[in-house]
Amino acid sequence: MSVDSVIELSGVTQRYGDLVALQGLDLQVNAGEFISIVGSSGCGKSTLLRLIAGLMPLSEGELRVNDKPVEGPGEDVGIAFQTSALLPWRNVEQNIALQLEIRKLPRARFEHELRRLIDLVGLKGFENHKPYELSGGMQQRVALCRALIHDPSLLLMDEPFGALDAMTREQLNLELQRIWMETGKTVVLITHSITEAVFLADRVVVLTARPGQIAEVVDVPVSRPRRFSGLSAPAFQQACDRVRSLMNAPGLD
């Protein structure tokens, strides 16, 4: 096992009664790596993310984050979900600061970081807006800031851009790449978009359906920063084709 691996899975199996959701997963995620997990719906990719986050108990195998067995939600983890899950009575700033309040972290110490994050995702001037005054893309940006405000080394994302239109989605993909490059955090992104997975990730983990097993881990040897205009490059195309064929969706190419 490598010294700087942040997440280590060995023989991870998850059951719900008789149903086997995940079976025999072995994977190592290195510090600062961007990993995408793709698979058809129902393959257990969300379950995998929740296991890593410590949101549900593991039925079998070993799962370590930062060299410690996962026994519940950690201090060094931030999560963004499919819905923004913002509290409607709190404005942008208060929603981001919720993470600090709940974890009892001193707001003053993170004030600078709060300003920086709001600036980084282009929410400057919207600090006092309530969620219902924001577009879907902006709401997800707030959720992203909330996941990052306590400066976790590991960022987990469960299809955070799934409900957004294509334009906003690409924009947020670029922003996420920039944030990742600036902060050097380890990111695990669950998605059902092959393009999104390949565009962002160093490695794409492809899961098979029922039970979820790792079909293959596909490398994406493309330098950073990546652009959407470069998606036709051979390295991108090869990775996309490989992921697509693994997902057994020939009609898509």
Binding site: A85, I102, Y132
Partner: protein, 255 residues
């Protein structure tokens, strides 16, 4: 104030219709008094009516507050433990299929004719909507919100105060609004069973004397009390949960 125009038009049409019916069909005044006769009666007996209205208002508010003070904690208990839910819920539902009004005579026998038993009867009529809507509200926290709170390592108390309770407020308020309307019904019923004052008592005695103008005056007072209490709750709701869609959308449509 533009929002007041439409209900006022409805009111005028109602009074015109009232006139039309009493003139066209030549309804005798002891069945349907003319609007001006009722207005005159209210003017003449204003202090008298106000005294009785005050009694009924006290009883309604007493039962209403009791509904909130006991109903919301009961909902908390039920949502906090599945054992308690299984033990209490079926009885709570059963208590609602049972005609609570039928208990009123018994309560009068047990507790006498004072204000207290009236408040108890009002409470019995009004508390159920508060309990049910509070239960629904306290359960309305969605899965990802629960997971978000867990991922932040929120304690049970933090989850309750920062997530669950505020998220439940819109639903709790819808129950409270039903409850406040029920509480007036409860107070009137309680007075019918045995009372020496209050609008319910006045209704019965006016009925016995075929004093229809008084009967209509009492109905007018009951309506005013109901409307005032209801809108007081709506005002409080707008203050407490201005972020909720029902309140935001109301503001935009009334522009």
């Amino acid at each position: 104030m533009k929002t007041m125009v439409y209900p006022l038009i409805t009111f005028v049409l109602f009074v015109v219709g009232w006139y039309a019916v009493s003139i066209l069909f030549e309804v005798p005044p002891y069945l349907l008094p003319r609007p001006e006769a009722v207005a005159e009666r209210i003017y003449q007996d204003f202090a008298f009516l106000c005294h009785h209205a005050l009694v009924t208002t006290y009883e309604s508010l007493g039962g209403f507050f009791l509904s909130i003070v006991l109903g919301i904690p009961l909902a908390l208990l039920i949502t906090s433990s599945s054992i308690l839910e299984k033990a209490i819920m079926p009885w709570l539902v059963l208590s609602q299929t049972f005609p609570k009004v039928a208990l009123a005579p018994l309560i009068i026998v047990w507790f006498g004719l004072g204000m207290g038993p009236k408040i108890v009867i009002t409470f019995l009529v009004a508390f159920f909507p508060v309990v049910i809507s509070s239960i629904v509200g306290l359960r309305s926290m969605e899965r990802e919100m629960v997971e978000l709170a867990a991922s932040m390592r929120a304690t049970r108390l933090q989850v309750f105060w920062k997530f669950r309770l505020p998220l439940a407020l819109p639903s709790i308020f819808s129950g409270i609004k039903v409850s406040v309307a029920f509480s007036i019904v409860g107070a009137v019923i309680a007075e019918w069973v045995g009372a020496s004052e209050g609008l319910g008592y006045l209704l019965l005695s006016a009925n016995a004397n075929l004093d229809t103008t008084l009967l209509f005056s009492v109905l007018a007072f009951l309506t005013v009390i109901g409307v005032v209490l209801y809108y007081a709750i709506e005002y409080l709701e707008a203050l407490l949960i201005p972020w909720h869609a029902t309140i935001r959308l109301k503001e935009t449509t009334s522009l």
